[in-house]
């Protein structure tokens, strides 16, 4: 009894300040403060897991063939764009089919900045990626900022259709502005990354795939960290409120148009960064690539990976990047599918059809995507002998 009614011990000056919440040993699920729960890696398991994944990812180039590495590197870059779309579509609930347009803006900004000043196409010869990556992001972000006021007037499917229109208009002007893009079916050289005097696209002590992979990995880690921080900040909470019930969010004082604009701007920034790096590997960029299919691929990454998760975006992007490889393996199992583009059905058709099938299957059976599958596995083993 007395323990309950004991008056609080007199507080000294030092104790009156909010104490840093301490973890209780052995009880990883017990949070004693909000800040602790919202921490970046809020359990020991996550801390070790993320470190292990990054370590494995960093080691991969030394143990994997270069052609697989190129696919994985593409996946890393796509993941940046997927995180951007997930911030907009997953966290803020604004469905955008226009991601390809912003990716294109980023790709061309980077290509122009790093292009040969004396070449056939626009170029300024600034080959340092530490300059052209942020620049590509900013150009795309400005475009997103300018488009957003139109988009914030619209909701749901109207928005999806309008952003779709953006892709068509954007692609038209990319094709049309020949000194920028090289025109239809021609294209131009993509951005050249020369970091600290090392050309990442030339074979040296390490092959170009290895160097670019490491570079992409570093950029992805930085961008993922930024994305996670946006998601767990005030802005991220506002996004979630807008997504879950925009009117209620407005009533609570979340300025709808402002936060939608922020979401568009951030998402476009990610798309621009993704675009600037996406074509480094094969060194060529053509305007046909920024069409509807690319937008659908990004939507597929977000949905397959897991809506409103950063880790899910990365998983989804990796899966989509690996799809051509997976499709190429299918003829071994199903001999009636040809691996030549001449016959039908062939693996290229199969690959495109797989986007559709995967989107449908995940939405029907696992709406939380790969992240949801991971959560199930985790929950199963956490309570292991008990199935509930």
């Amino acid at each position: 009894m007395s323990a309950v009614h004991d008056p609080a011990p007199p507080t000294t000056g030092a104790e009156a300040r909010p104490r840093r919440a301490r973890r209780v040993r052995g009880r990883t699920e017990l949070y004693t403060s909000y800040a602790q729960e919202m921490a970046l890696l809020n359990t020991r398991g996550k801390q070790l897991g993320v470190l292990a994944i990054i370590a494995v990812a960093a080691y991969l180039p030394l143990g994997v063939e270069d052609d697989i590495l190129a696919v994985l590197a593409t996946g890393l870059v796509l993941a940046i764009g997927a995180i951007g779309l997930n911030l907009l579509t997953g966290y803020a609930g604004q469905v955008s089919l226009g991601h390809a347009f912003f990716v294109g803006l980023g790709a061309y900004t980077a290509a122009v900045l790093s292009g040969d000043p004396d070449g056939r196409y626009l170029g300024f010869g600034i080959t340092n990626p530490l300059v052209w990556i942020p620049a590509a992001g900013i150009v795309a972000a400005v475009a997103g900022f300018l488009v957003a006021p139109l988009a914030t007037r619209l909701r749901g499917l109207y928005l999806a259709i309008v952003t779709l229109g953006l892709v068509f208009i954007g692609q038209y002007f990319f094709l049309e502005w020949r000194s920028l893009s090289g025109g239809a079916q021609v294209g131009r050289d993509a951005a050249t990354p020369i970091l600290f005097g090392i050309d990442l696209t030339r074979n040296g002590a390490y092959t170009d795939e290895q160097k670019l992979y490491w570079f992409f990995l570093v950029v992805l880690v930085v961008m993922a960290l930024l994305g996670r921080n946006v998601a767990r900040s005030k802005v991220g909470r506002a996004f979630a409120a807008v997504r879950d019930r925009d009117i209620a969010a407005g009533v609570m004082g979340v300025e709808l148009s402002r936060y939608k604009q922020i979401a568009f701007t951030i998402s476009s920034f990610y798309a621009g960064v993704c675009g600037s790096l996406l074509f480094c590997l094969n060194g060529h960029v053509s305007a046909e690539q920024f069409g509807l299919l690319l937008s659908v691929q990004f939507i597929a990454m977000v949905l397959i990976g897991g809506v409103a998760t950063i880790s899910g975006s990365i998983m989804g992007a990796m899966l989509i990047a690996l799809l051509p490889q997976i499709a190429a393996e299918v003829p071994h199992l199903l001999p009636f599918i040809s691996s030549s583009a001449r016959d039908s059905p062939n693996i290229f058709e199969l690959e495109i059809a797989m986007y559709g099938v995967l989107i449908i299957a995940f939405l029907l059976f696992e709406p939380r995507g790969l992240y949801g599958i991971w959560m199930r596995i985790r929950t199963y083993w956490k309570g292991f002998p008990f199935s509930y």
Binding site: V95, L150, R153, L154, R155, G156, L157, Y158, A160, I161, V162, L164, G165, L166, F168, I169, Y172, L175, E176, R178, A184, I247, A248, V251, L292, V296, I299, L303, R342, S344, P345, E349, L350, I352, A353, Y355, G356, V357, L358, I359, I360, L363, L364, P367
Partner: protein, 295 residues
């Protein structure tokens, strides 16, 4: 003037095709508040199927069978992929229709083959002269067919029991269910109708031309059309289709005088520009119902 009128003929002919496609979108939207992105695939599948049927059955019977078959495909798709999702967020269903679109398009596209396929229509590229203005027969056929179909469709909604049920469900789904309307039937009929309309549109879009894998792009123009007319207005779809068709044809004709600094034709993006401009002024389209959110 003559040039302008010729463009008008082309515009109305294409506009009729867009209107048919847009009607499919609007019918599905009215019944389940979802934009079905699968329409382009149904349209392409319709054109390809008809091109296989006409050599055996002749054009008219072949087209009829093809349209019925695509309606059946749409029915199956609705039952298998869409019905389980009823009640989920509209965005989720819309994305599923994108998935359906990709799958159907790839399957249909694999039947295009290497040899050029034609729809086998009786018009080809023939043209007649109406008061000195050359109008292609296929455009006249499209306008006539679209007029007939629109009249039939409006009569269907006005006079049949299922049409009444569909109007009731569009107005208030729960109240309609309480009155004994089978919502499942409404969904099925609306998808079948939309599939059939897409297939008819496919026949006219492919007539006088060789069918290729990019035929479905025509159907994407229906998206600006429904935004222009309003997502839930059947009349708006028809008007919007004709307007977009005319704008596109006129821009295509006068492209070189208006936009000499642009090389390729601006006609292809004119519909989207019109859509953006309309949305700036009227976010819910010309004839769409203004969205009212009750708290």
């Amino acid at each position: 003037m003559n040039e302008f009128l010729t463009a008008g003929g082309v515009g109305l002919g294409n506009g009729a095709v867009y209107a048919l496609l847009a009607l499919g979108f609007v019918i599905i939207y009215k019944s389940m508040q979802v934009v079905s992105f699968a329409q382009p695939a149904f349209m392409m599948a319709g054109a390809i199927l008809v091109s296989y049927l006409t050599p055996r059955f002749g054009f008219w019977l072949g087209a009829l069978l093809g349209v019925i078959a695509i309606a059946a495909v749409a029915l199956v798709v609705e039952r298998v992929a869409i019905r389980p999702m009823v009640g989920k967020a509209v965005f989720v269903i819309a994305i599923i229709t994108i998935g359906v679109d990709i799958v159907v398009r790839v399957v249909a596209g694999s039947f295009v083959g290497v040899d050029p396929r034609s729809i086998g229509d009786p018009w080809g590229l023939g043209a007649v002269s109406l008061g000195g203005v050359r109008v292609q027969e296929r455009h006249i056929a499209a306008i006539v067919a679209a007029t007939l179909i629109v009249l039939l469709l409006f009569a269907f909604f006005r006079y049949t029991r299922i049409g009444l049920a569909m109007r009731a469900a569009a107005l208030d789904q729960e109240a309609a269910m309480a009155q004994g309307v089978s919502i499942g039937t409404v969904f099925a009929v609306s998808w079948a109708l939309a599939g059939a309309l897409a297939a008819v549109a496919g026949v006219f879009a492919a007539s006088g031309n060789v069918i290729d894998r990019s035929l479905w792009m025509v159907a994407l123009v229906a998206l600006p059309v429904i935004i222009l007319g309003g997502l839930d207005s059947l009349g708006g779809a028809v008007v919007g289709g004709l307007v977009i068709g005319l704008v596109e044809a006129i821009v295509r004709t006068y492209h070189s005088t208006w936009f000499p600094f642009l090389g390729t034709n601006t006609g292809s993006i004119a519909p989207y520009v019109v859509m953006l401009l309309v949305l700036l002024v009227r976010p819910h389209g010309l004839f769409g119902t203004k969205e009212v959110e009750r708290v």
